[in-house]
Symmetry: C2
Subunit: 341 residues, 2 copies
DNA sequence: TTTAATTTCCAAAACGTTTTGGAAAACATT
DNA sequence: AATGTTTTCCAAAACGTTTTGGAAATTAAA
């Protein structure tokens, strides 16, 4: 079934059918209803190729997945799927075409964006995996492509984005531990080149400052995405050997995995000998016992908000954003200490 | 840049440029080279919409991701990404369009396939998450869509597929444990409605038969994809309480996670008090210590083979397939027992 | 040298839509 | 009844390709 046949069945012109389905005001309510009825009856959907071609535009969302990041950090794959789940409902109902590209290297990633814009002519992009200062933003703006950042660059922001409230997350965690009388709190982060890691550190530092606690260099480490055993060994040496530390914050599931592995080796029992609280933890908790107290964010909402911003009727404002609020989920890995002094 | 402008620059007709790029024999080698040179120079790539429309066909690969499966089993997400990684290299180089759809429910999954074929008019499909007897196969065959199964249905197969050699995997594991003098081996599987689970069980049963060991009902359980703690508790009660069992085979990372959690609770040390060997284990091993001995398959190759079959010059044969051979990776979780009697 | 066969090219039609620029019909106003 | 407005429709052009059915040019055969 195509529009020509459908028009014939309706006894109308192609134009009227097209405009009727498009919701234009120059087709009467009665005929529009009839058109829609027939379209459903004959299971008609416009050919996207013809439609894109004729209208000189697309309604296509492009998304480039940095496999190089996700393959080295398998524990982060879950949050990716959550985001996608949130997106997909909206995408299906809004009838957006969705093109996904996969990049095994940074070069491939660049090529993929180029291809999306130059060849596929997408008009919407989800920009993922933002660096502190990300050249792709200028590229997209120059090409006038609507996009939403999943994550943010640093400094002044002139584009729409959705993100976790990383700074208040660490702040919340610190308060939670503080209330339970922890004063020597280690923070295991990843490289600050990842903006979320930078933000999480800021929350940690600000809390210390606000509460007039001195920042101890030896309480903060950053681990690289590498072999799990190496990560564990770094944590064991630098954190677990330091007997003053009573609680550990893990900035990622990845570092939590390392910490658990390290605790196993060092024979320190989590929730008994030492307290641990992690970001996310949804994968780790499949395995580890006791289950970890964690700070959680709803990434499904992040995904659906991103699509919402991209499809909002009015022109996308450069200051639309959505900040997911964190929530602490108490499980069995944080001790309440006796008040010292 | 479009073909018209490019033709003008070349001083050739549109037809010749199109056919030159298409590799037709009715354009001379010299002009073809010139055309390709100019196309590169002016960064020309055919508009896929126009191309699809004009040629009455597409070169598009459709892939429906069953989020309902992956979200409930986060530990399986890694193998999905590996498969995708394998695909993506080939896809990028072959210049295939790639449309991905996400389904949160089985109904959505059905709709997604329908949409891919009726609306997007894809000519290739990766069929994932096959049930023992899967209605989608008939649907695709009826619509004459080229597809490759990632996984297989049961019984006689009349379509191309790529899959793990599940049966010989369990066989290999059993032999490995047998050689280390284990005779009471538990097998934790998932529901046999998943064909891979069925196949893995077959390998287990066949090994027993071949070696004249009686199948013990209490050594085999199947766990559902649900709350990790419930899984752990089932394993603790049904397997760990059975003191005769010296080794456990976990059919999925998911069940391995449950087993580890259960061992923690029961205070049984893996690799000391009990042996454990798992399928995959790439995620679990980020966390668990000692690292688990595992049986591994290269899913990247699976992905690239799937694309290879779909893009092979000759018409796709219904008996092309690729069977990934397993490999045991020794780590620290399997004991060698003393020979009894 | 003429004719036949082969190679190399191209004009025009087609794909299924959207959009433009009216025309006709219906309604409202004088 | 005549004119102006608004509503409702449509024919035709356009989008950027591929493909068809030759035509022209070249090469081979007679």
């Amino acid at each position: 079934m195509n529009i020509k046949k459908l028009a014939k069945k309706l006894g109308l012109s192609i134009t009227t059918v097209s405009r009727g389905l498009g919701g234009y005001s120059d087709v009467s309510e009665t005929t529009r209803k009839k058109i829609i009825k027939f379209a459903k009856k004959y299971n008609y959907a416009p050919n996207p190729n013809a439609s894109n071609l004729a209208s000189r535009k697309t309604n296509t969302l492009g998304f480039v997945i940095p496999l190089y990041g996700l393959n080295s950090n398998k524990l982060n794959q879950a949050s990716f799927f959550e985001f996608i789940s949130g997106m997909s409902n909206k995408i299906n109902s809004e009838n957006i075409q969705f093109i996904m590209k996969f990049a095994n290297t940074i070069e491939e990633e660049k090529k993929a964006y180029d291809n999306l814009i130059k060849v596929e002519k997408v008009n919407k992009v989800i920009l993922h995996n933002l660096k502190k200062n990300d050249p792709r933003i200028k590229f997209l703006q120059k090409n006038k492509i609507n996009f939403v950042g999943w994550g943010r660059t640093q400094g002044r922001i002139n584009y729409p984005w959705v993100d976790l409230d990383n700074e208040s997350s660490t702040n919340l965690i610190m308060q939670y531990l503080f209330d339970r009388n922890h004063r020597n709190i280690a923070f295991i982060n990843v490289d600050e080149k990842y903006n979320f890691a930078y933000q999480r550190k800021q929350g940690y530092l600000k809390f210390l400052k606000k509460n007039k606690i001195k920042f101890k260099k030896e309480n903060y480490i950053s681990v690289a995405y590498e072999n799990p055993d190496q990560v564990a060994s770094v944590i064991e040496k630098k954190i677990l050997k330091n007997s003053k530390i009573t609680a550990i914050i893990c900035s990622t599931e990845y570092s939590a995995a390392g910490a658990i592995k390290a605790c196993n080796k060092a024979n320190k029992k989590i929730g008994i000998d030492i307290s641990l609280i992690t970001f996310d933890g949804n994968v780790v908790n499949f395995i580890t016992s006791p289950s970890l107290t964690a700070i959680n964010h709803d990434r499904k909402v992040l995904g659906s908000k991103a699509i919402e911003i991209l499809t909002s009727e009015t022109k996308i404002k450069n200051n639309s954003y959505y900040l997911a609020k964190p929530e602490i989920i108490e499980r069995g890995s944080v001790l309440t200490l006796k008040k010292s002094n």
